[in-house]
Amino acid sequence: MRYHFNFGDVLAYYPWLIKGTLLTLELIAVGGVLGIALGIFGAWARTSGPRALRAVFGAYVELIRNTPFLIQLFFIFFGLPSIGIQMTELEAASLAMVINLGAYSTEIIRAGVEAIPRGQIEAGQCLAMTRLQIFRHIILRPALQKIWPALSSQVVIVMLGSAACSQIAVEDLSFAANFIQSRNFRAFESYFIATGIYLVLAILLRQVMRGIGLMLFPAKVPR
């Protein structure tokens, strides 16, 4: 018996696919912005924060980077309610993404911060800049610029990882694929199409990150 592919059956569910794609984009928009913000704070804490904060962020980074995203998600969504912290699926998924990307970007941005030559910071001190001004203008900007490509790839990786969020019933793109195949039993075709959409999203997201890089660091990012 030969199998007859039927992609039309899946494409007929296009409103679900579009809705799922939009939710995946929403997740990565929230996760990306807040995750990088957390990463910037974490990099500051790890390099020039108080000693206690340094240790806390060190442990946080190691803990998150050495456990799977799926388990972080399950822990937040299924585990936390039993100690009284309730949230919706979407909140849990966003939180998990922020925490996950936060840990990776802390480590990536920290590498950039540590690559800033000491003399630059001393020059800033000579100009009577405050510590915050030094961090913002002398350390952070050049550091971000240096590690922007690595950070961009990490954002794409987290976006692809967000497919796991369908497991706590967040209605993202992979959830749409699951839903469609449960309706028409076209499992292969649904997942094939969803995978294609993810591929396009990944390529687009990389370009968007590049664009943001060019905007934030004009003329200095290699084109």
Binding site: L70, Q72, F74, F75, S82, Q181
Partner: protein, 218 residues
Amino acid sequence: MNDFTLWDMARGLLLAARWTIALSLLAFIGGGAVGIFMLLLRTSRSRVLSLFARLYIELFQGTPLLMQLFITFFGLPLLGVDTTSWGAASLALTLWSSAFLAEIWRGCVDAVPRGQWEASASLAMNYLQQMRHVVLPQALRLAIAPTVGFSVQIIKGTALTSIIGFMEISKAGTIITNATFQPFTVYAMVAALYFILCWPLSRLAKHLERKLYVAHRH
């Protein structure tokens, strides 16, 4: 109804950890073998082969591992192959890790100075001889640290195979949670178990990187 002690939960998870380790090893070895092949294609002088390898890498790096697992799990039966979750999981993870390893190793091959290629070419070596005797031995040194680092990604990747029903730590965690209604404890234990598996490898990768970096700086 039975009461689960902490030890009952831990024992269930530890037994399942054998499968996480087995699957990780298989994916690492299989991914390494396919990865070497893809590396040779990617760095070959033939533009067609190199383009093919680039598309392969882009495809696996640009799509979610979860979707790759689903496609393998539901796609193989269409080709007339009987799929088990074990077979689909090991195939998908092998292909996925091969793409990442090929790309990591390509970076290492690119880091070998151009002159080494030219010198070996002037000794009338062909492409495979150059790779085998001159470039790969040098690239290998650079490759050790990031390869160990990637093995952590493989172990974490195996967690997703629970979704297609492969019985490893995450799946065992879900089952035990359903039996005990103690998600907080169980998932904390699951996370701890992954941490125990991954953290030493992360440390090792960092240590190797530092050692290598010193050697490079002189």
